[in-house]
Structure formats: structure tokens, C-alpha cells
């Protein structure tokens, strides 16, 4: 099965996240407020080299930057 999102360079994980985000936004207000909290992710990571920690970066931003050249090159 060739999926359109796969051809566009989106991973299954990201596909699930996008679908879940849409479902959360479609809820009625009271349920939506609780559900939106599940969609928030604030992860930071840092690369270690030679025993020294590199700069701490936001995971979501890093993923976006990493995805751009791939999508642009298609």
C-alpha cells in the first residue's frame, strides 16, 4: 500500500500525531481543553561529543528543520 503521506516524506509516527491533533481540535470545548494538553510536547535534547555537551535544542524544531530539506528535495 503506497500512502500519499509516505511518498511526501512523512513518517507513520508523524501521521498518527497529525491525525490525533485534528481529532483533538474537533472536540466540543470541555473535552477539548483536557485533550489539548496531551498534544503538547516540549522536549529538549543535546548532542554529546568527546564528553562535552552540545547546545540544548528543542526536539520539535529540530525535527522540522530536518524534515524541510528532505521535503524540498522531492
Amino acid at each position: 500500500m503506497a500512502f500519499a503521506w509516505k511518498a511526501a516524506g512523512i513518517t507513520y509516527n508523524r501521521y498518527l500525531a497529525v491525525a490525533a491533533r485534528v481529532v483533538r481540535r474537533s472536540l466540543k470545548d470541555d473535552k477539548r481543553l483536557q485533550a489539548e494538553k496531551r498534544g503538547e510536547m516540549d522536549l529538549r535534547f543535546a548532542k554529546w561529543e568527546n564528553g562535552k555537551q552540545g547546545e540544548s535544542r528543542n526536539l520539535a524544531e529540530a525535527n522540522e528543520q530536518a524534515a524541510q530539506p528532505h521535503a524540498g528535495g522531492q
Partner: protein, 163 residues
């Protein structure tokens, strides 16, 4: 003497075996399927006996009954219908995931988000559809357009379910 001692210890051991009924195939009554429907944050059904489950698989809409052949199905974002023992049926809209049928009539469905239909707002769906259509038809990055298309797929399925 020895044999008497052995016989006595054998008598002591036996009572426990008869009490705990050994689980056999017949425990899951042949016309029920044991459903576990789980989201990361909530367990909607936990090994509960139901009669039938209709799932929106990528390969097509399927109805899972007892003694279904073991299979793994990827789910489209869509409506799951659970027909319960008492005769009522419940519907949930799932955002996507997998359904696994195991031998001896056990069905495990995993999804990221799932809600009954009454929790959704038709207005919110309509607004999101128009926004997603704008992005999908626009000139943003391929990534954004692909994501907008995913959103449209989910939203159209949701809108159809809400009618």
C-alpha cells in the same frame, strides 16, 4: 509406613487443584469476542466480552466476530462499532492505529485518540476542513501540504460519521 506418609501429603495437596478451575477454550463462550480497546491515556474496553466489532481497516471495513482468523490490520481514521452482549452498540471515532486479532477470539485495538460521536463539534470540524483545504491548495512546503491532506482525510471521515 512410608506409603501412608506419602498418601497423607498427597491428600493435603489435592484440594487446591479442584478449586481453581483450569482455563480452557470453553471459558470464552464460543460466540463472544474478548475486546481490549486502548488509548495511550485511557482503556475504553479491558478484556470485555462483546459480540461483534466493526473496524475501518485500510483494506476495507471489517466485522470481527468470535473465532476470526488471526490477523493484524492497520486502521483508517474512522468509526468503530462495538456490539455488546446486552444488545446495545457503542460507536467511537478513532484517529488511527492497529487492530490485532489473536487466536481464541481476542481482539486488541490500539489507537492514539478515540471518542464517542457526541463529544465532537460539527462546527469545529467544518472550520478545520476549510482551513486545511486552504493549506492543501496553497503553496506552502510539501510537508505542510501533506499534513493538510492527512487532516482532510481524517476530517472528511469524521464529518461523514457525524451526519
Amino acid at each position: 509406613m512410608n506409603s501412608l506418609r506419602i498418601a497423607r501429603s498427597a491428600l493435603r495437596v489435592r484440594p487446591t487443584v479442584t478449586r481453581a478451575a483450569k482455563r480452557g477454550y470453553a471459558d470464552v463462550t464460543p460466540d463472544k469476542i474478548r475486546l481490549s480497546l486502548a488509548l495511550p491515556h485511557q482503556s475504553i474496553y479491558k478484556s470485555q466480552d462483546v459480540v461483534q466489532v466493526n473496524i475501518p481497516a485500510e483494506s476495507g471495513e471489517m466485522g470481527i466476530l468470535a473465532n476470526h482468523v488471526p490477523s493484524i490490520e492497520q486502521l483508517k481514521p474512522g468509526l468503530i462499532e462495538v456490539i455488546e452482549e446486552q444488545g446495545g452498540s457503542k460507536q467511537f471515532f478513532l484517529s488511527g492505529g492497529f487492530a490485532t486479532v489473536q487466536p481464541d477470539s481476542r481482539l486488541s485495538i490500539n489507537a492514539v485518540e478515540g471518542y464517542p460521536l457526541e463529544d465532537f463539534s460539527a462546527d469545529a470540524v467544518r472550520n478545520q476542513i476549510s482551513e486545511a483545504q486552504k493549506i492543501a491548495g496553497g503553496s506552502g512546503s510539501e510537508q505542510d501540504i501533506a499534513e493538510a491532506k492527512i487532516e482532510l482525510e481524517v476530517l472528511e471521515s469524521l464529518q461523514a460519521a457525524l451526519k
